[in-house]
Symmetry: C2
DNA sequence: CACCTGACTATGTTTTTGCCAAGTCAGGGT
DNA sequence: ACCCTGACTTGGCAAAAACATAGTCAGGTG
């Protein structure tokens, strides 16, 4: 196993003692939104075509209170929108539909399912995700905008605004 | 917005009233392992090259008790391995290194960072992930094994073992 | 042997997440 | 007007996650 089997840190903070993504990396914001088990299960069912409150509750096996709470939060975060619908002879209800922002979670959902499927250390029989047109299995792959498939040892990270971070750190050191 | 902007359900359970991935989809297993905020933050720092206990604690801003507990669990789940190391004049300690299984989380981490970066609704300045060789930004893309880039409306899912599920459901209906 | 200190562990507490049961509310139907 | 019922909301509770503080332990060093 190589020492490069990590994302290389670039820029002024590349040194291990200086590096911090804490407070800068927006994975934390992503985890604010979909970082609970229940939120992710609701999102999964939205991707599997669930739209109605009762079917989201049934499929996730979460309590109605939790499903209602997660949907409210996902709506507030712009992940779903409410759309009125009406079956004949019944009153108008809302269905929940993924927004553009919500559909942006697609690689995350696929990546989690794919990784989980690789474990095979539980009782579950699993699902398979496929490309409908050719029936080939799906996976989430890390690529760059040039189209290269990028293995972990060719990945790098830098803080977007190092000047800002430098200034922050200078201020943080003073009142000690 | 099209009704196909979801993963199409295939197979015997494609009907919305029958569909359930609950108990079959291994996203739940993935969430068992990395489904807490603290686990994901520790995994992030492992990808950013953190290996030592104290630097993982510093970078994640989690309490030492939580970092210790998460590392123990990640070790038990085969995500990291402990490797002894020794700096001169100091005693032997363990460092934590991602295993193959742990590196398999790479698309998940990239997908979460990428999605979070797209939000831009917080104070964070963000990080950028790049392909070191060409400096082009990274993203997690959903592709099939034939190499096609698969948009959401061309994705489909089926339960792997429908016979088993059918049998389960038959048994579950009896004692009502 | 005594001491230092990094890596935990233990305990109690706080916060967050999730559950259950009961309740509210509003849109249709009668 | 009354009733039904789907979609929540509320309150209390339990479990899980995380924190703070103090403690333990063991590998080095002097």
């Amino acid at each position: 196993m190589s020492e490069t089997d990590v994302i290389e840190r670039l820029g002024a903070f590349s040194e291990r003692e200086l590096w911090t993504a804490k407070g800068f990396c927006r994975i934390e914001r992503a985890l604010d939104v979909v970082g609970t088990r229940s939120a992710m299960l609701v999102v999964r069912e939205l991707f599997y075509g669930g739209t109605r409150f009762d079917e989201l509750a049934r499929r996730t096996n979460l309590s109605e209170a939790v499903v209602a709470s997660r949907l409210k939060q996902l709506h507030a975060d712009g992940i779903v929108e409410r759309r009125p619908y009406q079956e004949e002879g019944q009153r108008t209800r809302d269905e929940y539909v993924l927004t553009d922002r919500g559909r942006g979670l697609f690689p995350i959902v696929v990546a989690l399912i794919q990784w989980g499927e690789g474990l095979k250390d539980d009782h579950r029989t699993g699902v398979e995700l496929v490309h409908r047109d050719c029936d080939a299995p799906l996976s989430a792959q890390v690529r760059c905008e040039k189209g290269h498939e990028v293995p972990l040892d060719q990945a790098a990270v830098r803080l977007k605004d190092e000047k800002y971070v430098t200034a922050l750190r200078s201020r943080a050191r003073k009142p000690r």
